[in-house]
């Protein structure tokens, strides 16, 4: 089932045209990697999917992104609701330092009006389990969110995003600030989550894309050059640019 149907998506920073006519369909419960050299627009594309790009002053978007049959850019659609269904994890882990681990995970639920302690307890446990963090923090839920190591903080952010039960998880270079072991743990987590969530991950590490994703999209200078099953892209790229990027000739 198609989760995202992106049609003629264009994006600008002021007068700079950063995404040019992107057309792609993303399947449900898959991991899609977006790769490309610096500045090619991958993060912008990701942020267009949860309507965060438009928050930057001077930013503009045109085109359609159809999610669950609804164009999220339609005038009647509330961007806040979009973001509840489509979660995001950022490059640099950003847990709320002034809150405990428990509160970090629970905050999304609390702000949506859920007050029942039993429900919150269960949700926090489940989210931390899903994020493969529960065993490490279950006895220290009251410690500050910032007291964890980098890799743990990132998993905390994943738990926080999962707690509000999105259908999609957007990940913007989630491992670039982490060491190899933490990276491996997160990649393992991604494969596990893919069974129930649609994951789109931006990465500058092509090996990671090969390891972790089902589909890969290659962006260059704002254009979608090639998009297809990961295996096919890596073993048999159709476009010369793709091949040159994958073999490290540039970027």
């Amino acid at each position: 089932m198609v989760k995202f149907d992106i049609q003629n998506l264009n994006a600008w920073f002021g007068s700079k045209h950063v995404l040019k006519n992107i057309n792609m369909k993303i399947e449900e419960n898959t991991v899609t990697a977006i790769i490309g050299p610096s500045g090619c627009g991958k993060t912008t594309l990701l942020r267009c999917l949860n309507r965060m790009h438009e928050l930057i002053p001077g930013a503009r978007v045109s085109g359609k992104v159809i999610f669950n049959g609804v164009n999220i850019y339609d005038n009647s659609v509330d961007p806040v609701m979009v973001r509840r269904k489509i979660g995001m994890v950022f490059q640099k882990p950003n847990p709320f330092p002034m809150m405990s681990i428990y509160d970090n995970v629970a905050v999304g639920l609390k702000l949506n009006g859920i007050r029942d302690k039993r429900v919150l307890d269960a949700a926090v446990k489940r989210s931390l389990e899903l994020a493969n963090l529960w065993d490490e923090v279950k006895d220290e839920l009251n410690k500050s969110g910032a007291s964890l190591s980098g890799g743990q903080q990132q998993r905390l952010c994943i738990a926080r995003a999962l707690a509000v039960e999105p259908e999609v998880l957007l990940m913007d270079e989630p491992c670039s600030a982490l060491d190899p072991i933490s990276t491996a743990k997160i990649e393992e987590l991604i494969r596990k989550l893919a069974k129930d969530y649609t994951i789109i991950i931006v990465t500058h590490n092509v090996q990671q894309a090969a390891r972790v994703s089902d589909f890969t999209a290659f962006l260059y200078l704002g254009e979608l050059i090639e998009y297809g099953p990961t295996r096919q892209i890596f073993e048999n790229p159709q476009n010369e640019l793709t091949e040159r990027y994958l073999t490290g000739k540039f970027g």
Partner: protein
């Protein structure tokens, strides 16, 4: 191991259609913007009310004396009921000028010490101590001025000052310890924290490339410092004017040491005098009839106008100087 994916209770049963809560969120955002804007706009009301009530309170005096109030030199509440504020304005300006003469050079030194001379570690401690100076209440300065500074000056400083400079009329005349010069000294101490903090910021903002350029030519530390000060000179003037604004408005400290004597001009620096702020503090409670009260409010209005002009001028100069120093504006 299969983890239960869906929460069995509340969350998915919430109607999460994309447009269902849109109106609520927009309403929330707009309401919030409106309420906070309303609170913030109370400043218009406050300032407007202040100007209005001061003018209204001064009206009787304005009607009676007109502009003569500003140049009048009589203050006789008891018999002729004539009021004039010129000596007060002069007293305020002169004591503030003395405060600047003493306080600005010292503030300059402190600003330079903090930005050019002292190592970082000391910088924090010193800045903290300077902040402490700023936190001492005005009335405590006055108390200290009355019981510590005045006897000290009267016994150990002024007599020698008079011996050395007594041939100048400014330094002749009876010494009782308080008066114009003492007032200026206390005011100087009080403006140092503000002025030196601004100066430190100004000097720190001077680009290092300037210092490096002159050092490369073989300059001494002092010669380098001169370059820094000259680069930031318009800001230095602005900081001094900021200090002037503070000195002009000081009340308790000055009234406790200056002697509170209404006269057109003091006979010497050791003579007593009066300022606008001091007379309001001393006499508003004693003012028993309407014209008297109105005259005092009128003095307050004049003080307000002078302070506003000084502060706006100072901020414009400092703001412009900061922009120049950072190289944003090329002139």
């Amino acid at each position: 191991m299969k983890m239960p994916r869906k929460m069995p209770l509340f969350f998915n049963s919430l109607n999460l259609k994309f447009s269902s809560q849109f109106k609520n969120h927009l309403k929330g955002d707009n309401l919030f913007k409106l309420v906070s804007a309303l609170f913030a706009s109370s400043i218009f009301l406050l300032l407007g009310l202040m100007i209005y009530t001061l003018i209204e309170g001064s009206w009787l005096s304005i009607q009676t004396f007109g502009l003569n109030f500003i140049v009048g030199t009589t203050w006789d509440p008891a018999i002729s009921k004539v009021f004039g504020a010129l000596p007060l304005i002069l007293g305020t300006l002169v004591t503030s000028a003395i405060a600047l003469l003493i306080g600005v050079p010292i503030s300059l030194g402190i600003g330079l010490a903090l930005s050019e001379y002292l190592p970082r570690r000391f910088g924090f401690a010193i800045s903290f101590l300077v902040e402490l100076l700023a936190a001492v209440p005005s009335v405590v300065y006055g108390l200290w001025g009355m019981f510590v500074l005045i006897p000290f000056l009267r016994e150990h400083v002024y007599p020698y000052l008079q011996t050395a400079l007594g041939f100048i009329p400014l330094f002749s005349g009876p010494i009782y310890g308080g008066g114009v010069l003492t007032g200026g000294i206390v005011l100087a101490i009080m403006i140092i924290p503000t002025v030196s903090a601004v100066m430190r910021d100004l000097f720190s903002a001077v680009p290092n490339s300037q210092r490096e350029a002159i050092i490369a030519l073989g300059a001494t530390k002092w010669e380098t410092t001169k370059i820094v000060v000259s680069y930031a000179r318009s800001g230095v003037i602005g900081a001094a004017i900021l200090g002037l604004g503070r000195a002009v408005g000081e009340t308790m400290a000055i009234t406790m040491v200056i002697g509170n004597k209404f006269q057109v001009w003091p006979s010497s620096l050791f003579d007593a005098w009066y300022t606008m702020a001091a007379i309001i503090a001393n006499e508003l409670l004693e003012a028993t009839y309407d014209l008297y009260v109105s005259a005092l409010i009128n003095v307050g209005l004049i003080l307000l106008i002078i302070t506003l002009l000084i502060n706006v001028l100072a901020r414009l100069i400092v703001w412009r100087a900061m922009r120049l120093t950072r190289g944003i504006v090329r002139e």
